[in-house]
Subunit: 589 residues, 2 copies
């Protein structure tokens, strides 16, 4: 460790073994107690807390007299001798809880106004106030621990990648606007009036160009920008660990990534057992109702279509008789004891996931059954249903009737909702791959195929002849990394053939002219001997959120923005002078 | 190493010890030679080059027949057996030069159009063409080595910082416009019409807020943005290694930085002997004529004012008699042999550094003297001059007459020019600190003091009473890191007292209202117990340029822009749709 002249130790490191030593500490006055004629101060820095005490009888009382004036959040430097805390005064909750420092000299390094909220982990303050004074919010030990974990994990993943011969390459933030994905943030050019850069939504095209350029193994911890409405837990700028490899097939990439991720997680104390489980997209949808399943709990979806094929309940038997329609069910254990009114409200929840209604059967603890539909079922049907769903007293079985994807999505939503409502335990972390996504999905708005991942994804080579005739049947080389029920990362193999890339863009509705304008430079590059390539991007903010047990990515960002995109601390975005606007040849509407 | 299914080795690693082994390689066809009925191909990947050979008699000739069709820059995969090259066919310049791979199977992974320039290190191509096809330019071994060095050095410095308990914290790219420094790049907000973010010129304010927030030891490899005219070797976006520390004094910060930098440089094979030499700003100016001296060669500036105090040459003696005027000289060894016409042209060079003319004396190899001014000098003056300047045959002594700073700058410029013109050897790397910059310099345009470093720099504590009365005399806690005659980094201690910060802003011409609008959030934060703090920023692009022996930072950036700010590959910046502009409430002028 390099020398420190202003302090000899941090506030987190003194122990019994240091008793008798003279030390100098720097930190903020946290709590102050006057007790028995002495003053006790909890001195806090980023490493921890040390109790320092002031005695009017010690060193002529000068330090004591200063201590009488100090207030919370003043930064101070103290010098003194480490001593054992008196009998019964130890604090076993504190790493430094056996000792204190008897101060002989104190220097006030600065004063502080009274903070608008207490610097404590569990403080009742609106998030807006926390963001307005983020520099105070960061002093809370939990926030400091979050920043430290993020720093440690980011370094761990860099170390894992660097050690495996990945090269970090910085790609530009001022790049070309390709508005086909999310909305771009634009940056007007001053020297080229009427022209704009765009901030990258991801370095996707640039990393593919790096593969054409022979980099072979690339990574970057990259800032990405999307000007989307910030509903849910989104931020206008976010960070992804971006990776790309050449001369590889899908198994090479996934193997390398598993190796890197397991290494990085282990460096922050999290075990990721390899090889990871791989679930195909349709298995994930059919079993968990989502392409990002949390498999720490079961509550799996069951296809009960055939079971009700002859049912008097026409909704079910009608579906069974219709091609492409399914009756699916989940069993929410414990919810069968809920009062009828509470169960009835679940129909609204299901409607949020696309259901037109919600059929259900509550198996009461006393063995009775409560259900609006059970009267239509035969004993055989009930018996088969109980067996299929593993029914016990206290269970609530819910049904969805729809086409495959819709039925999956309704029950996937209900599964997650019920797990939260029932407080289903989800201990530890859950990692898996979801693979084999379809190349396209149907976009009802544009009445056209849209890319399931992105337009540069490699289709299954043996299904290329279906591209025009049955595009929705074409598979792809894709893989999502799912952690604790979140899509924590995703990737795929890329098209490295210029003609195939143009064919895909046309299927997505591009004219040849427009495709050339937007992506001509990519296709030109592919024509100069692009190698087979594939890669991945890990959502760093989200992974750190999960690793710290936070409920928002804002808790793992130093200076996040509000849902309206504001920085409440600096008041950005703000008005600029008309001269600044004129320089970039713009005026306000 | 993780598994690779597509290849068993890189093109750089096979040696004699591998003879007899069956291997699979992937790479690009570089050179192809048909010789003695065989085909020889240099296969290139980022790790190196391996000769692979094709024999029509081997494995039924199938690989040979494919090899007849392959062209430069096609990516291929080959399988074959490593064998010794025939007697006299080894290539000692190549790490793999003792072996070749006799190919039994070749897969063409893609074809390539003919590149617009050859993929060779020494290729005569305009930089515009290189940038237009940057992905091909990057395939040149020198460019690939530059990217790798940059990746290695960046990782080394991260490792050095992380190992010393610095926390990496990401600060936002969408921040507030503070247009007092260089020009900001603006980013219009869609959700808040008429409001703009700015891309950060540096994370300066944010890292100071992190210190207020208790981070104590921060670093970030940060993208910075300046919308300046790109004369010289500038880019609109560049990268700095940004560092800040709390509870420190200047020696703490400089000591920590020396430690980190020496560690990082050593990891890329460069020795930086510590402690580094420290030169004060005025010593550097007076001795080398610059605040970023290259001390690998002498050619130091000499103050000869007093020597000519009684001279008949009125230009010199007049200066000696005038307070604040100086006569200074340098001795360019070897230039004394230049023809008169060549020497005369130096006056134009000196004019570029602010000189009104250039007095000089050429000491010819034959002992004669050639000079327009020497006729005015007494024998004693010449004798004293020879002694002071260590004159030998072949020397050219040049003079500047001006005030201290101007004389320094003229001769500093000439010193550097002459070193280049004479090809003065500058081997190895040269590291030093320049310290103790004045807090302000006089800005002739605004007729006002301007910050020498930046407005947040801590003045010398014992000169605070001079701030208003004699501001140019006030020193500061500042340090620049100079490498090979370039300002490679700079830093200082920061003001952590809100009132002092406001006082400085007023001295810089801010009204209280304007200071509050721009920097009120900083001063508010300082009022909540800001600790003593200081930091540093290292120009990563420039350091990598010097480490790779490149003559431009563009050689160590994957995708640099032209001097007009264009990306020639993607054609950014480009026009955007009127719908995109309308969304951000703007129209073109």
């Amino acid at each position: 460790m390099d020398s420190r002249t202003m302090h000899t130790h941090t506030c987190g490191e003194l122990r019994r073994a240091d008793i008798g030593q003279e030390v100098t500490l720097c930190g903020w006055v946290w709590h102050r107690r006057d007790h028995g004629g002495l003053i006790f101060v909890d001195l806090r820095d980023r490493a921890g807390v040390t109790q320092v005490s002031f005695d009017p009888e010690h060193s002529g009382g000068s330090a004591f007299h200063v201590a009488e004036t100090i207030r919370p959040e003043w930064p101070v430097r103290v010098r003194g001798v480490v001593r054992q805390r008196p009998e019964g005064m130890s604090n076993p909750k504190l790493a430094t809880g056996n000792i204190e420092v008897l101060v002989s000299q104190i220097d006030v390094l600065n004063t502080s106004r009274t903070p608008p909220f207490q610097i404590e982990d569990h403080v009742e303050t609106s998030e807006d106030v926390r963001l307005r004074y983020r520099y105070l919010d960061l002093r809370r030990p939990k926030m400091m621990a979050n920043l430290r974990l993020r720093s440690d994990f980011t370094f761990a993943i860099r170390e894992a990648l660097h050690g495996r011969e990945f090269m970090e390459v910085e790609t530009p933030a001022l790049f070309k606007s390709t508005p086909e994905g999310a909305r771009d943030f634009l940056v007007p050019s001053r020297t080229q009036p009427g022209h704009f850069y765009a901030l990258p939504q991801s370095p996707q095209l640039l990393k593919q160009l790096l593969m054409v350029g022979g980099v072979e193994r690339y990574y970057q911890v990259a800032k990405c920008f999307r000007d989307e409405d910030l509903r849910a837990d989104r931020q206008p700028e976010f960070t992804q660990v971006d990776v790309e490899m050449s001369f590889v097939d899908q198994d090479d990439v996934m193997g390398a990534l598993e190796d890197v991720l397991a290494d990085a997680f282990s460096r922050v104390g999290v075990t990721m057992a390899c090889p990871l489980r791989r679930i195909s997209y349709w298995d994930a949808m059919d079993t968990y109702g989502t392409d990002k399943p949390d498999t720490r709990y079961a509550m799996e979806l069951h296809d009960v279509t055939q079971l009700f094929s002859a049912s008097k309940f026409k909704l079910f038997s009608g579906a069974a008789a219709t091609k492409g329609q399914f009756v699916k069910a989940i069993n929410a254990k414990g919810a069968g004891t809920w009062p009828r009114a509470q169960i009835d409200k679940l129909a609204d929840v299901a409607a949020g996931f696309g259901a037109k209604g919600l059929a259900w059967i509550a198996f009461r603890e006393d063995g009775s059954i409560n259900s609006p539909i059970v009267k239509f079922f035969s004993d055989d049907e009930m018996c088969a249903l109980r067996a299929e769903m593993g029914v016990e007293h206290g269970d609530l079985v819910m049904f969805a009737v729809a086409d495959r994807l819709a039925a999956d999505q309704i029950l996937g939503g209900m599964r997650s909702h019920m797990a939260n409502a029932l407080g289903v335990e989800r201990a530890g972390h859950d990692f898996l791959w979801v693979v084999d996504f379809p190349l396209f999905h149907w976009d009802a708005d544009s009445k056209r195929c849209a890319s399931e991942h992105q337009p540069f994804t490699q289709p299954d080579e043996d299904q290329l002849d279906l591209l025009e005739s049955d595009p929705l049947a074409v598979g792809s080389h894709t893989y999502d990394f799912v952690m604790d029920g979140y899509e924590a990362g995703g990737g795929g193999m890329r098209i490295h053939d210029a003609k195939l890339q143009m064919r895909i863009l046309k299927l997505l509705g591009f004219t040849e002219k427009r495709a050339q304008e937007q992506f001509g430079f990519l296709m030109e590059a592919l024509g100069f001997g692009a190698p087979p390539m594939g890669g991945f991007a890990l959502g760093l903010d989200r992974v750190c959120m999960l690793l710290t047990g936070s409920d928002s990515i804002r808790e793992v960002m130093a200076f996040p923005k509000t849902s309206s995109g504001s920085d409440l601390m600096s008041d950005a975005p703000s008005e600029v002078s008309s001269a600044q606007l004129k320089e970039v040849s713009l005026r306000l509407l």
